[in-house]
């Protein structure tokens, strides 16, 4: 398939004024222009008056280019970057509560926790609650393996991402 029309996930990082209307404006942009957000993550940066929004959106090149341009038009937005093809660190946090009614299950969960470098953060009579940080693939793989145990409840944060320092640039210095 032509790469231009290929639908794939993009990680878009946005620096924005830490103000009440700013997030609403960004979310509304997605709904009013018919774009889909898979995940969205907001937190402030080293400068508390600036927030970093990391979002994952699916679309072809043209759509993603439009999303980036439309985001740049928002008055409160400083910088927008598509990090998809950059060397980057991206992480997601998963908290999942699984059934462990039998000793075998307990053992299997502990084994997976060890392999993935996860942590059991809460325990009850028949459940373990596991916390895992990793990139999306790791989190997906972990969930796939733990699924047969029976997932009671789960929460994922969506991705946060940052360009690697190796590339000689950080987000803030990049002039676009």
């Amino acid at each position: 398939m032509d790469r231009k029309c290929e639908q794939r996930k993009h990680i878009i990082s946005v620096l924005v004024e830490n103000q009440p209307g700013a997030l609403a404006r960004i979310i509304e942009l997605f709904s009013s222009r018919g774009y889909n957000i898979e995940s969205l993550n907001v937190g402030h940066t080293e400068d508390p008056s600036i927030s970093r929004i990391t979002m994952v959106a699916k679309g072809d090149e043209h759509t993603i280019e439009q999303i980036v341009k439309q985001l740049r038009r928002i008055i409160d937005v400083f910088k927008v970057r598509d990090l998809t093809d950059k060397k980057k660190l991206d992480r997601e946090l998963l908290i999942v509560r699984v059934n462990v009614e039998t000793p075998e299950k307990k053992e299997e969960v502990m084994r997976l926790v060890e392999i993935f470098g996860a942590q059991v953060v809460d325990v009850s009579k028949d459940t373990y609650t596991v916390e895992l940080t990793g990139d999306e693939e790791q989190v997906d793989a972990f969930l796939e393996l733990i699924k047969p145990m029976g997932i009671r409840e789960m929460a994922r944060t969506g991705r946060v991402a940052m360009v690697r320092a190796l590339q000689g640039e950080t987000f803030g210095e990049q002039k676009e």
């Binding site: 924005v16 609403a24 509304e28 043209h62 341009k69 008055i75």
Partner: protein, 579 residues
């Protein structure tokens, strides 16, 4: 200096150079209106908040300055919405101030409370809710800066009542310092490398065309664009918003392109090998079927808004910048390139001749009549009587397209029309705003019987302030454009388009204190227009009873490509299909 929020607002408006405000008072803005009589600002009380928004819009379009409107909370704010959306989509600088319930009541479903910033977020360039009187002055300053710079647009400032009442320090000198918005830095100058590439492409193209949009008018680039067309022998086509950029009688001007564009403009676009789009956005009403739009053309796209570039049509040479600033760099480059290329004129002449032959072969045409008034004839007569010098506002529908086709404009900002949103009811209040902004000009609103009824209460506003606008109602007793579509594409199933039950517009206008006139026969048209022109202390409304089922041609059928337009019959019975 210690001032209340209301006083700070009014003083700040003065410092912004505001002279006229259109608005409507109410509970949440009482403190502002209480201080208004002590301010040199002139306030016009419209009869509906929508009228205030359109008047501010018309004022801004006519003058190039920022239009300002006031409304109260709740219904006042929601009534502004259509007007603000109209201005925003046509990139008109308007700043709207709305009152709201006091800060401590926000979110409480209080009387006349709505989430104004929430409602207006998608239809403004930016909006603010001021929660502390200390932020007020700075917010007003930012609002005007955002509205008038970059791609102009609408900014709304929502003012809770307590913010307008509370008192704080106001430092005028501080207000006059330049605005700093760290996240907002519009790109104004074009990229020099891209400009060089564009100039080369323009000089070496065989069949270029200029596609001129509203950005040329609003940035003041009209003269430069026309000059470039002359230097490089390029035919020009304009959008509805860009029509006034080019003198209507210019030999290179082909008129409007798009759905109701001229045959020559549409064919020239379709056959071109280079489109130079300036301040235009490849709107669906312009391109027709996008995949068949100008299939062999390379595209140079000059626009202040980078998000417009490549949005609808892939672009070969994008130039982000203000049209005027870009043209100032591009024009000398084009001149240089043209001088270098010796075969230039021979190549270009073939194209010019071809375009000219289209223009001569398939001009705009309607069947004249001495029995019934043809709507196009009215527009031609208005042009004649106003010597082509009137500022024209329109509503939306058939009459709007006939104005675009038959009124030959002579200076920029002469046509004030709702292009993007297509807002019926725009014409009369926009004419009021335009006349307030340009008292030296005749301001003529050309409307339809449907559109006029959507905001006819504003005639009272014109009477109140002795604003002598002229209004021509092209009265066919139909919602004409909808009827035309039902006629052509829905087998004449005329559904809910009959407006033959209507007020006697002459009596109605007389009752409102204006002058009402009527023409029912072609022979009366000129006399009645001259009579209207002689009145200069009141609004005049002329009811032109016109041919009921006249259609607008050419017409590109929806989903069709530009070259598939339906042409007028040129006197033959059957409509001709273009090749």
């Amino acid at each position: 200096m210690k001032l209340s929020g209301a006083e700070i607002l009014l003083r700040a408006l003065e410092l912004e150079g505001v002279e006229k405000i259109f608005g409507y008072p109410g509970g949440a803005v009482l403190d502002i209106y209480d201080r208004l009589p002590f301010s040199p600002l002139k306030h016009y009380l419209t009869r509906h908040e929508q009228g205030a928004a359109h008047a501010a819009d018309g004022y801004a379009r006519a003058t190039g300055k920022v239009g300002v409107c006031f409304a109260t909370s709740g219904p006042g704010a929601t009534n502004l919405v259509t007007g603000l959306a109209t201005a925003q989509i046509d990139s008109v600088p308007v700043v709207a101030f709305t009152g709201n319930v006091p800060t401590y009541m926000i979110g409480n479903d209080a009387f006349q409370e709505v989430d104004t910033v929430g409602i207006t977020r998608p239809i403004t360039k930016h909006n603010f809710l001021v929660k502390d009187v200390k932020d007020l002055a700075d917010t007003v300053k930012k609002a005007f800066h955002i509205a008038r710079t970059g791609r102009p647009g609408v900014v709304l400032v929502d003012l809770p009542k307590d913010v307008t009442r509370e008192i704080t320090d106001f430092f005028e000198e501080e207000y006059k310092t330049p605005v700093q918005i760290r996240s907002y830095k519009p790109v104004l100058k074009g990229h020099p490398g891209q400009i060089k590439r564009a100039a080369k492409a323009i000089a070496s193209a065989e069949r270029p065309i200029l596609y001129i949009g509203g950005g040329v008018v609003s940035s003041g680039a009209s003269d430069l664009v026309v000059k470039m067309a002359e230097v490089a022998n390029i035919p020009m086509a304009a959008t509805l918003m860009g029509l006034t950029a080019v003198p209507g009688n210019h030999p290179f001007f082909l008129g409007m392109l798009g759905m109701h564009g001229t045959y020559a403009a549409n064919m020239a676009i379709q056959e071109s090998d280079l489109i130079v789009a300036i301040g235009a956005r490849f709107d669906d009403r312009v391109t027709g079927k996008l995949s068949e739009f100008a299939p062999n053309a390379k595209v140079i796209h000059i626009d202040i808004d980078s998000a417009e570039i490549g949005k609808n049509r892939a672009v070969d040479i994008p130039i982000v910048g203000d049209a005027k600033l870009v043209m100032e760099e591009l024009l000398p480059e084009v001149e240089k390139q043209v001088a270098k290329n010796r075969e230039f004129y021979a190549v270009r002449e073939k194209w010019i001749l071809k375009v000219r032959s289209w223009k001569e072969r398939y001009p705009l045409w309607y069947e004249p009549s001495d029995r019934v008034i043809k709507p196009q004839f009215v527009i031609e007569k208005i042009w004649e009587v106003t010597k082509g010098e009137a500022v024209i506002t329109t509503d939306v529908g058939q009459h709007q397209m006939w104005v675009a086709q038959y009124y030959r404009f002579s200076f920029p900002r002469q046509l004030i029309t709702s292009g993007g949103l297509g807002t019926m009811g725009f014409g009369v209040p926009a004419a009021i705003g335009a006349k307030v902004g340009r008292p030296d000009k005749t301001v003529f609103c050309i409307s339809g019987d449907g559109s006029f009824q959507m905001n006819m209460q504003e005639i009272v506003t014109a009477v109140h302030y002795n604003i002598p606008i002229k209004v021509a109602i092209i009265n066919n007793g139909f919602l004409g454009m909808v009827r035309q579509w039902q006629g052509i594409f829905y087998q004449k199933n005329y559904s809910q388009v009959h407006l033959d039950v209507q007020p006697d517009f002459v009596k109605l206008v007389e009752a409102m204190g204006g002058v009402g006139l009527r023409a029912t026969k072609p022979a009366e048209v000129e006399a009645v227009l001259k009579e209207a022109m002689a009145i200069d202390d009141r609004p005049v409304v002329i009811d032109f009873i016109v041919d009921r089922e006249e259609d607008v041609f050419p017409m590109v059928p929806p989903g069709g490509a530009l070259h598939e337009m339906i042409l007028p019959s040129y006197g033959k019975k059957k409509e001709k299909k273009a090749v």
